[in-house]
Structures are given as structure tokens and as C-alpha cells.
Symmetry: C2
Subunit: 124 residues, 2 copies
Amino acid sequence: MTAQRRVVAEVLDGDHVHLTADEVHARAVDKLPEISRATVYNTLGELVSLGEVLEVSTDRRAKRYDPNAHKPHQHLVCAQCGAIRDVHPAGNPMADLPDAERFGFVVSAVEVTYRGLCPACAGA
Amino acid sequence: MTAQRRVVAEVLDGDHVHLTADEVHARAVDKLPEISRATVYNTLGELVSLGEVLEVSTDRRAKRYDPNAHKPHQHLVCAQCGAIRDVHPAGNPMADLPDAERFGFVVSAVEVTYRGLCPACAGA
DNA sequence: ATCCTACAATGGACTTTGTCTAGGTCAAGT
DNA sequence: ACTTGACCTAGACAAAGTCCATTGTAGGAT
């Protein structure tokens, strides 16, 4: 545990936090000015490998990092501004995929992304 | 309808086709050597706008284009080799998101991605 | 206390994917 | 034949992420 890693972990803390790597870097720099982009990427990669943080790719833009890895949830994304909310749908989509539709794959996860417009973008 | 657009449409034909823009370009070049990358991108963009082709972003790598736009389906993705299969799960994930979990969003679409290992990668 | 070694961090170059722009070509209409 | 406009082309550009050689650092060995 180095100062750099601690800072990255601190930045990624809280609910409904979905920062891009660059945003994480910008905030980390505020706390530790000499931290480099590569270190932020490395540390985020390690956190993802450890299962402490989830990677979320909702569009072609930058990956986002979600510290809320321990409570299963899905995402609701604004098609216009990119805002993300964590949501907790009912049902179990995993159970909806019959064996006949698995084509021999070992299925280990399912991701559900709801797309639409957030209140601000829908109103405008 | 120009020669270039016809070639792109021809390349994107068939079931379980999920090519990247570059792959589309490579195959288009086989049929029409002078076709440019920009034209492929433009044409794919138009096909997506017309609703003839779906854009699929399963990872941080290139977008893939799915000509099977008229039958609703979801995707099963190999975490290792990136292979994609179309699947047709039961249930309606849209109905699983209660109003209380919509946070005022106007939700218009839902995407489900099953992740796992394909038979080849799981066996190895 | 000093040196060694392993690991981590740094900065910058590089790659990949996609977009943009300036110019060229071609067909249709006048 | 000239103009117009849509389409295409090549290449420059941009964003996001990765890689690599070098530098720094912390802990153990001497």
C-alpha cells in the first residue's frame, strides 16, 4: 500500500461514483500532485483484478470505475449527457438464459444497461 | 445507393455477424480496393441511423456492427477471445425496473450482455 | 550505516479507434 | 458545356489506453 494507491482508493469512494480514469487522475493530482497517469491506470487495473472496483463501459467514451462492487446492481445511462445511476431491478436475468441458448459457454456474469434520457436532458 | 454502400451492406450480411469497423473495411477492400476507411465509417453510421444495423460495444475495443437489427436479441460474449453470439433470453428486463428505480429518466432501451467463456476458451 | 534488490512510479512514446477536413470525382439538371 | 451537390478519398487529428525504459524507494543483508 503506497501513497499513490491510497489516494486512488480514496478518490473512488462513495455511492453513485462513476469516474473515468482521467477524472480519477485529476482528483488524485489534487491530493498528490506528482502522481502519473500510468500509475492511476495501473492501480485501477489492480483494483479491478482484486474485485474491489467494477469497470463500466457504457459507451464508446472512457471506461468508468464503480467502487460499489460488493452490492450487485445495474446501470441506467443517459444517452445524451452520459450520466449514470445505479439501479436495482427486480428479477434475475441470469435465470432468463436457458441452457439451449448458452451454446456451451460458461456464463459467469450478466450486465444490464438501461438507456434513456435523464430528467435534465429529457426536459431540455 | 453507390457501389461503396452496396459493398458495405454485402459485407454485413448473415446471422451471427459481428464485425468491427476495421474488419468491415478489410472485407470491403477485397471487393472494392479503393474504398476508404472514412466511407466505411460513414456508411456504418448511416446504417445505424436507419436502424438497419446495431452498434454493439461489449468492451473497450472496437465497436461491432450487428446486421440482425430487426429481431430483438441480446449478446453472449467470451471474456477471453471476444467471440459474440446472439441469444434470446426469456423474460422482459424492461419490466423489471420499477418506477421507483427510474429516477425520473425516460427509459427507452435495455441491453443485456452475458459474459463468460466460450467452449474453446473454457476448454483450454 | 551502507549497499542490494525488488518493486513501484514516472514520463513519454506509441497504438488503437474513431472523427474531421480539404479536396476531388461523378452524375444530373440547366 | 457549366453548375451544383452528393459522395468519396487520403490523410491529419484526437481521445483513451498501453508499453517501456528509467528513476525512485523501502526493506533486508552485510
